[in-house]
Amino acid sequence: MEALLVPSLAKIDRIIQETPDVRTYRLKFKDDSISEKFSWQPGQFVEFSLLGSGECTFCISSSATRKGYFDCSIKRAGVVTADIHTDLEEGDDVGIRGPYGNWFPLDDIKGKNLLFVGGGIGLAPLRSLIQYCIDNRGDYKDFTILYGARTSADLCYKEEIEEWKKNTSIKVVLTIDKPEETWKDNVGVVPKILEEVVKPEIANTKVITCGPPIMIKYTLQSLDRLGFAPKDVITTLEMKMQCGLGKCGRCNIGSTYICKDGPVFTYEQLKALPDEF
């Protein structure tokens, strides 16, 4: 019964403590034949279960161009995510269903300047696309990553960011909300740094953004002010989900299934939805 909702077992290969409340779980399916078939596009998500505790929705934060594993970066937020952080260790098994949902419009962004704007754990879905684009670097023009967090400790993927910084074909701009003694980069909220420091080129640029709701709200306003067309701004939505596959009704906004028609939308598409997210 209910075959659609049965997960497959995956093993936790590595756990990386990103910030005090975010950990990246590097996963591999236990059954090789599932691993071989499992492929995803940047922006897609999985239903992740800690058996006995429950199931949660997480984007896959790595790119399928990096073979042999996939990552979920998980912030401690509520009941199940707290259990995940407390109970799971390297070598443990979890349940995975997916991949589900749509993905970033890979054809539309080809040949364009890319501007990634991320805040906090919101870098997780962007990271999948960033890795994908780095692995296909020739397909894109300018490549800018603006990433911010409340404090320097809250920045995810610190080691990887160092690698991005070393890559001369990528411009990395980091910011934190308030000054810290040892911090040498920018200070200020993401939208401010976007307008005052990054000052992006508008022509031929696609913006891909994800972050906490408040950051998204002001970032969208900034992008508007800077002159970006809503169709050139791409984001991913976080509606509560259960099935992830268009059956349970949980994620609906109007007649849109966020889990199937999304989670990736352009700002133009978002504006057409009823204001219910």
């Binding site: 019964m1 659609l4 509560k240 268009g246 059956k247 349970c248 109007g254 007649s255 219910e276």
Partner: protein, 351 residues
């Protein structure tokens, strides 16, 4: 319609029902304390396939169970294993007698969401393995409005067999699908060529008196259009103020299909369930961190109304509400979706 009609009489019908019950897993309306539900029966005495009026419960749980097991699992220090609960054990077709037209149409409407993109083969298999004998109510109950919602007498293929009583104790058994046709042929033998037209004429004749018995009537396409233009109307708040968010309306509705997934684990073994949930539930959209896109009751009721009368139709081409009235009959505070949507449709445009 190219299917056959079989003519029998009341005795013949009783015998057929008895034969079906003895041979097949059979469900039929059973009355308990004045409430009707479709229950598994082992003799005709236990049930009333001719029950004259709307059911209290819909037939939905026989296709979409109130709670079903997704899987069982063991998680110990030695490792984790998942045991699928397997396919339903269906031995030959199940039969449901006395299904009301609204309930049968509810199933038909639900097919769309179960077969777009990912296919819910559990739901579809249960439907494919069930023969639905349907009898229209004799008259409308106080909260019924099925005749206002695309009720199409001639093309009701949500039923496999329509049971129509005619003059002089005659009973027409009209096959509405190939499945119904084959089932009747196996169980009754001789069909009647003339019966087909007679049954239809009889249904039409009886329909007039039936339609006249409705207290509630609406032009739902007009309501649908007006609702689309009144998303921000304060009328939702006015009409749903008394709701206690108990979810009864959804659990009892033939077409509500929202569900939740939950785990129950004791020591090392656990079960994962799929069970009913409702958009009227305050937790439905509450996210970790406290954000809730539909924190107020009227917003949840707006979602319920719009889904029933606008969104599902936009997405799948059919109205989700079939006008059975089950929700209004069982609501503890007497809220009726008929009244809510009509109140909104009649509200002024400005907010």
């Amino acid at each position: 319609m190219s299917f056959s009609t079989f003519v029998t009489d009341k005795d013949g019908l009783q015998k057929l029902y008895e034969a079906i019950i003895s041979k097949h897993e059979t469900y039929a309306p059973v009355e308990k304390f004045g409430k009707y539900d479709y229950k598994k029966v082992s003799s005709l005495k236990e049930c009333d396939p001719d029950s004259p009026i709307a059911m209290t419960m819909s037939v939905k749980p026989l296709f979409f169970p109130r709670a079903s097991k997704i899987m069982k699992y063991e998680a110990t220090s030695a490792g984790t294993s998942i045991h699928e609960t397997g396919q339903d054990q269906l031995s030959g077709p199940r039969v449901i007698l006395g299904v009301k037209h609204c309930d049968a149409r509810g199933l038909q409407v639900l097919e769309a969401v179960n077969k777009w993109d990912y296919i819910d083969s559990d739901f579809l298999n249960r439907r494919a393995n069930t023969v639905i004998f349907s009898k229209r109510c004799d008259k409308a109950d106080t909260q019924c409005f099925c005749t206002s919602l695309d009720y199409d007498l001639e093309n009701l293929d949500a039923l496999d067999v329509a049971v129509v009583s005619g003059p002089g104790g005659k009973v027409y058994l009209q096959a509405r699908t190939e499945k119904g046709e084959n089932f009747l042929k196996e169980n009754l033998g001789k069909e009647s060529a003339a019966g087909s037209q007679q049954a239809l004429d009889e249904m039409k004749k009886q329909y007039e008196a039936f339609a006249a018995s409705f207290r509630l009537k609406m032009d739902y396409k007009d309501v649908n259009e007006k609702m689309s233009k009144r998303f921000d109307s304060t009328a939702y708040e006015e009409a749903t103020r008394n709701c206690v968010s108990c979810n009864t309306c959804a659990f009892i509705c033939p077409t509500c299909h929202c569900f939740k997934i939950s785990d129950e684990k004791i020591k090392d073994t656990g079960v994962r369930y799929k069970s009913y949930d409702s958009c009227n539930n305050v937790y439905f959209t509450l996210e970790a961190g406290g954000h809730n896109p539909r924190p107020a009751k009227y917003r949840r009721w707006r979602q319920r109304s719009m889904h029933k009368f606008v969104y599902y139709k936009e997405r799948f081409g059919v109205n989700l509400c079939v006008g059975c009235g089950h929700c209004a009959i069982s609501c503890p505070v007497n809220i009726s979706i008929f009244e809510v949507v009509n109140h909104v449709a009649a509200a002024p445009m400005e907010v």
